[in-house]
Amino acid sequence: MLGKLTLSAIPYDVPILVGTFIGVAVIGIAVLAAVTYFKKWGYLWREWLTTVDHKKLAIMYVVLGLVMLVRGFADALMMRTQLALAYAGNPGYLPPHHYDQVFSAHGTIMIFFMAMVMMQALFNFVVPLQIGARDVAFPLINSISFYMTLVSAILINISLFIGEFSNVGWLGYPPISELQFNPGVGVDYYIWSVQISGIGTLLTGMNFLTTIIKLRAPGMKWMHIPVFTWTAFFACIMILTTFPVLTVSMALLALDRYVGMHFFTNDGGGSVMLYLNLIWSWGHPEVYILILPAFGVFSEIAATFSGKPLFGYATMVIATGIITFLGSIVWVHHFFTMGSGADVNTFFGIMTMFIAVPTGVKIFNWLFTMYKGRVRFEGPMHWIVGFMITFSIGGMTGVMMAMPAADWVIHNSLFLVAHFHNVIIGGVFFGYVAGLSYWFPKAFGFKMRDVWGKWAFRFWFVGFYLSFIPLYAVGLEGMTRRMNHYDNPNWHPWLLVACVGVFVLAAGVACQVIQFVFAAFDAVNRKPDAHDLTGDSWGSGRTLEWSIPSPVPHYNFARLPVIRGLDTFHIEKELGRPAPVADLEPIHMPKYSAVGPVLGACGLVIGFALVWHIWWAVIVGLVVAFFTVIHRSANLDVDFYVTVEEIRADEEAFAKRLAAARAAE
């Protein structure tokens, strides 16, 4: 009846997990009780869970991403404390069986459920507003994307308390991920959560690519598209070209494990080399999928806070395109040590090095954006300065690893671990956090408290160097990644410093949590002068999203904007906005739908049932999903018109606020 699932799958003998479970259960029950007490279930369901509004989906993505950040960070704390203790005969407090799941979960969660989630949050919130669209091309599919991501994140967290998670790293290299070496359900949890979230991401890529191509406001030529949207555009192209490869690799691995095929097994003609090529031809573009939108965020912020246009807009777009192309043809640099011929290694090495050219150009562009500007160091700008310093160093070590003759000794070492945290934290994470605080007032109509954002930055910046410079050092001392204990006296002091560093980072995370708690408080009790009256939250916005009220009305634009060039809003501020030619018209909008949550529930049931081989539940999930889609296809009542009265009321209120803001000046 329940497949492989028995009571023995519950790890009640592991105190850390029992403690975590109690914590999660208490918080969960408290939240559910609060929602019930305040009678908010109806509101939650009607306004949020069934929404197809890209802005609300973005906010839900952010919440998910932050929760997953805390989860992934807890894993990081455990790893660093384990390695500070587990020296010279001391086994530490995490035996390999547990520790190996921790590092696998850390990588999987931080990439798929923190970074990718934050990235989709930014796509959702920013792209339609920047191009003057009223929603994405396929609003319902957008909701389905979110639910696929959400349920796969839930699935990976279920593995904490029912069964186990994968112990073989975030990419699940065979043959150790094969049934022969890994008969437990850990790898299956990994496969299905990655697989389901991959579907969500693929749909997001398709959705936003279509949105950017088809839904730009009238007059917005390609070279009028704001840089963040450009980076989203290229990231979507990479999603569409590479995520199917991830889906295929996971499917083949699943076939090996579920029906005894031999794609990646040791025997029967399987080859680990095939998997390495497949997974990295997704995995390397993946890091560019993450970093390009972060570059976009930095471009927007640098221009806004320098009070100048971005230096070299065209160069920026071209460089992004080149990175997209080169990023897709360098995957072999992840296994120069596999024994490829010298010519193959040289080709991939040199191609990798050449990515440093467009990336370097971008750094220079931000540099010259600040040059002869009036740079205001509000919260978001701190992250970009920290980024430019940190990312330059990360880029340098990246080029070092691109040379096979050097990579042969630093491959798989902690030097590598330090390198990719250097670019992922210093680039992706700094960028997304900067983006969150930059667009927060647009979403909620007030700014987060900057002082906590600045403290978060300081702790993250210092903590990063304290945590990862030591890892570069132990990497040079020959320490490989994923070790659980060691007895090399040279490594120990460095790992102690890294452990201190991770606690400094924890202070940074704490500041961010405090910042969000205060934001929630301010949402209810803020002073009137904290309101963003004009919609131009930072006073120097250049792109369309700053031309409309904050928070944004659900239809985004009362009138579709007329694009007059790059940075249309800036042009309007300089030259005045032309008077509207036509009167307001009813706006055609999609209705909210329960299809997303229903398909999400089906996804969760199917994923969980596949992990535990509960075949009847898999079939039930598939059948329900199938009929949900059929029902939706036959349903013609999926849209409505926003009345002119409602729009006019909104517009008049906005006009009053604008007048008040002008009077205050």
Partner: protein, 330 residues
């Protein structure tokens, strides 16, 4: 946490104690090559990275909003001169590094035997290479010296100034064979043979490791690499062959004994499996390595020595098939 703080007083002392930075203090020509490339790239890249970091800080300070004296060009966003500079400089640097990349990838290719040039440099131009066959197991390393007829587990003894000619495979999961101070690493994969060429230019006791995660015993899947002068090495070989060394076990390493060592130790949930002790074998059945490769390939081995080896492997196959039927069965 409390336990953590206890270590702190020892920190400065540990930092001062003359520690080895394996990759920067290599003990052989390949390792030196790896290091030289790394340092060269670091130096070249620093030529851009350092100015960028300084410029970031300078610009951020100089053009801060409160500095009204600084020039402000509110619409300036393009300059052909700067564009040429910001594309040109990175391209030039990468072109230079690409040249080094091409040269070093070929010159230090792990599959290429140690060059005459390197041999001359260490002062032993005529030393014959020592062949070592490496098999990674759960969670130990088996080293077979086919020319000497001996084998070891978790200890690699080599003569200095002698080219080391490794053939590597795995009889379990994939991992990576790595001796940081000697240089480059190469994956070990079941059913496949990879190659690596290293040389120790001075005596020493170096750490050797599995550089790719292999499961619960991964952290202890390590070996010492002991490099010693040729005479000393010869004496060691004699000692192992005659069984005089206390680490020598009674059995010869044949297909049957091998099975005993092939079995992974128990891996309990709450602790790491026990590390495998160092063991010497005074004699080894010929063709064991080929046999291990062949058993994943329905008895075939990719052979680079000649046709007869293939036939030998086919003969071996019947044996290995009996020993591990589940591994070869389709």
């Amino acid at each position: 946490m409390k336990r953590l703080w206890r270590f702190f007083p020892a920190l400065p002392a540990l930092m001062l104690s003359g520690c080895t930075v394996d990759l920067l203090q290599p003990a052989g020509p390949i390792g030196e090559g790896n290091r030289d490339m790394m340092v060269l790239e670091w130096a070249v890249m620093m030529c851009v990275v350092l100015p960028v970091i300084i410029a970031t800080l300078v610009f951020a300070w100089k053009y801060r909003a409160s500095n009204a004296k600084a020039e402000y060009l509110r619409n300036w966003s393009h300059s052909n001169k700067i564009e040429v500079f910001i594309w040109g400089v990175p391209i030039l640097i990468i072109l230079v590094l690409s040249g080094f990349n091409y040269w070093s990838t070929h010159y230090y290719d792990p599959y290429k035997p140690i060059s005459k040039e390197m041999q001359v440099k260490v002062g032993a131009p005529n030393a014959k290479p020592l062949h070592v066959e490496v098999i990674s197991l759960d969670w130990k390393w088996l080293f077979i010296y086919p020319d000497l007829g001996i084998a070891t587990i978790n200890e690699l003894d080599v003569p200095t100034k002698t080219p080391l000619d490794f053939r590597i495979t795995s009889d379990s999961v994939m991992t990576s064979f790595f001796i940081p101070q000697l240089g480059s690493q190469i994956y070990s994969m079941a059913g496949m043979e990879t190659q690596l060429h290293l040389m120790a230019s001075r005596p020493g006791n170096f750490q050797g490791e599995a550089a790719q995660y292999t499961g619960p015993g991964f952290s202890d899947m390590r070996f010492r690499t002991i490099a010693m002068p040729q005479e000393q090495f010869d004496a060691w070989v004699q000692n192992v062959r005659s069984g005089g060394n206390p680490l020598v076990v009674k059995e010869a390493l044949d297909a049957q004994t091998y099975q005993k060592y092939h079995v992974p130790p128990a891996a309990p949930h709450d602790a790491a499996p026990k590390p495998a002790p160092v063991v010497y074998f005074s004699s080894v059945q010929a063709g064991l390595f080929e046999n291990v490769v062949a058993k994943y390939n329905v008895g075939m081995t990719h052979d680079h020595h000649g046709k007869d080896m293939d036939e030998k492997a086919m003969d071996m196959h019947s044996e290995s098939h009996a020993a591990a039927p589940s591994n070869t069965g389709m």
